[in-house]
Symmetry: C2
Subunit: 323 residues, 2 copies
């Protein structure tokens, strides 16, 4: 007897797209079914997909670039999955557009699978769900899993940053290197794209980036990380497909570099660390929610309201700490 | 003997602005000094400030409106504090602008105190820090504390929503009511502002909002919440100061309503609930971080990498669960 979730995992691994979509919903939702699904997948997941993160400033053209990247990889016959992570601001309406309007060129192509994922709340949900989804897509046998962070935010950047290869997309208008540095993008980028390269200012953006990256390379050489990878900077005009072949070459080159240096295993371990941390955080949040819906909570809140107790001692009391 | 932090709390409560600024840093940073500071303040905090949240879509003119609101309240001689909460996107550079370039009209006015607060990471930090800061500003004797959420995000909206009076700012261009509903703004707004009312489309925005709010009012009448407050909709042109007096009148009217119906105590309790939850979440996050930096974590990560263990059972093992 296999459980329904285990059967779903079986079907998804053998290429059933409807089963795959359902399984992704299961692991995103969490709880016992997610637990079962991931246990069923653990023995299957070969970690064979190449995970590519795509991130960058809003309006840099990440979605278009991802579409072109997919087309380029498909031209070589490889199966590609796209996971679009969206922080779902209460003002933007979030990931609703995702699956339907995007990737229309690929919607009759069985070798392409696109999934949007909205972040859910503040607590571990996203950092748990994204690696889970990558794990499922990997087990489903895609050669490439592209994780595109639609929105901005530290969590999204962190997710893109734990791919095997992280592509950071900037535009000539945006690209002041200090800003990139502040955003932590210089640190996570394995390949940089200066998109909309038909606009002015490409050369100075490339030069700024080169300068900053050279500084970074010399500091990582100090830490003995050898042989160092100096991130290439690829000018593209994604809407016209210009430079996309160069981008794919750069991504493949970085992958070979990882394979040659053993970096691939380190990246995969980092993703597992993030995934486990997400699960632990979510467990914690549930524990806190249970405390906050208990009867003693109301009593303690009133004592704080009356000035009898300060918030920290109140919290200590709720978790049974000696203070 | 009073501790240095308790002395700081004393000084801040007696109007020492430098001490107040330091104390805010202490409570935002958290840890033992924050604990001490809040314990020292617990006996002082009279809960006498009126807490006003200001939130809304990006570009709606919240900052300008807040500035005008401050000027209007100052005209009546009341002391006003502004807490500007910014989610600090890695791409925006965050709250750095805050204190320095804003509120220039008020910078020689001892009756106005402005503080920017960046959100820090994903875990409880912001939901803990904002109520702490409000608590400190309250204890410092301001008549009004305006909590303006500079950015967007569920956490920021939630913070603005637990004010005594929440002002939701929209613009004619923005205001499709379904979007407002989706964002949860209709639910949290006690007073609505249609800013930039010199643009076209004000009437239809007001009409849309009125329709949605009337629906909301009839559903809350069903739940027996009486007497219901029907949120007023105030057109403003903040850059010219137009409508700001009406806004202040509406905020004062809502406050009287809360006082008359006992709603004020409920709002305050909700803030304390949020604050305690934030403290508990942060404790949890620290616990998780400790697990993730322990020796067994590395071992478990490698077993997951080798496909011997799935992530959920790995997490269960790390916290010592029987599975």
């Amino acid at each position: 007897m296999t459980s329904p979730v285990a059967s779903l995992a079986d079907a998804a691994s053998s290429g059933d797209r409807a089963a795959l979509a359902k399984l992704l919903t299961v692991v995103e939702t969490g709880g016992e079914p997610a637990r079962e699904a991931l246990a069923a997948l653990a023995v299957r997941a070969g970690d064979h997909a190449a995970i590519v993160g795509v991130t960058g400033a809003p309006g840099a053209g990440k979605s278009t670039l991802t579409d072109r990247l997919v087309a380029q990889l498909r031209a070589g016959g490889e199966r590609v999955a796209v996971l679009a992570v969206d922080p779902t601001s209460p003002f933007s309406g979030g990931a609703i557009l995702g699956d339907r309007v995007r990737m229309q060129d690929h919607d009759t192509d069985e070798g392409v699978f696109v999934r949007s994922m909205a972040s859910r709340g503040e607590l571990g949900g996203l950092s748990r769900a994204a690696p889970h989804a990558v794990r499922v897509l990997d087990a489903a046998g895609f050669a490439w899993v592209i994780v595109e962070t639609v929105g901005v935010g530290q969590v999204e950047v962190a997710i893109a940053g734990t791919a095997d290869t992280t592509v950071v997309v900037v535009t000539p208008g945006w690209g002041d290197a200090i800003q990139a540095s502040k955003a932590g993008l210089l640190e996570i980028g394995d390949v940089f794209v200066v998109n909309k390269a038909d606009r002015g200012g490409v050369e100075s953006t490339v030069r700024d980036l080169e300068g900053m990256l050279a500084l970074g390379a010399s500091s990582s050489a100090d830490t003995g990380e050898t042989p160092a990878w100096l991130p290439p900077i690829i000018p593209t005009v994604a809407v016209e497909g210009r430079g996309v072949e160069d981008l794919v070459d750069a991504v493949r080159a970085h992958r070979r570099h990882l394979e040659d240096t053993g970096g691939l295993a380190a990246r995969r371990e980092q993703r597992i660390r993030d995934e486990l941390r997400g699960i632990l955080l979510e467990r914690c949040a549930k524990h806190v929610d249970a405390i906050c819906s208990g009867i003693p909570f109301g009593t303690v809140v009133r004592r704080v309201a009356d000035g009898e107790l300060d918030p920290y001692n109140a919290a200590a009391e709720l978790v049974g700490d000696q203070q």
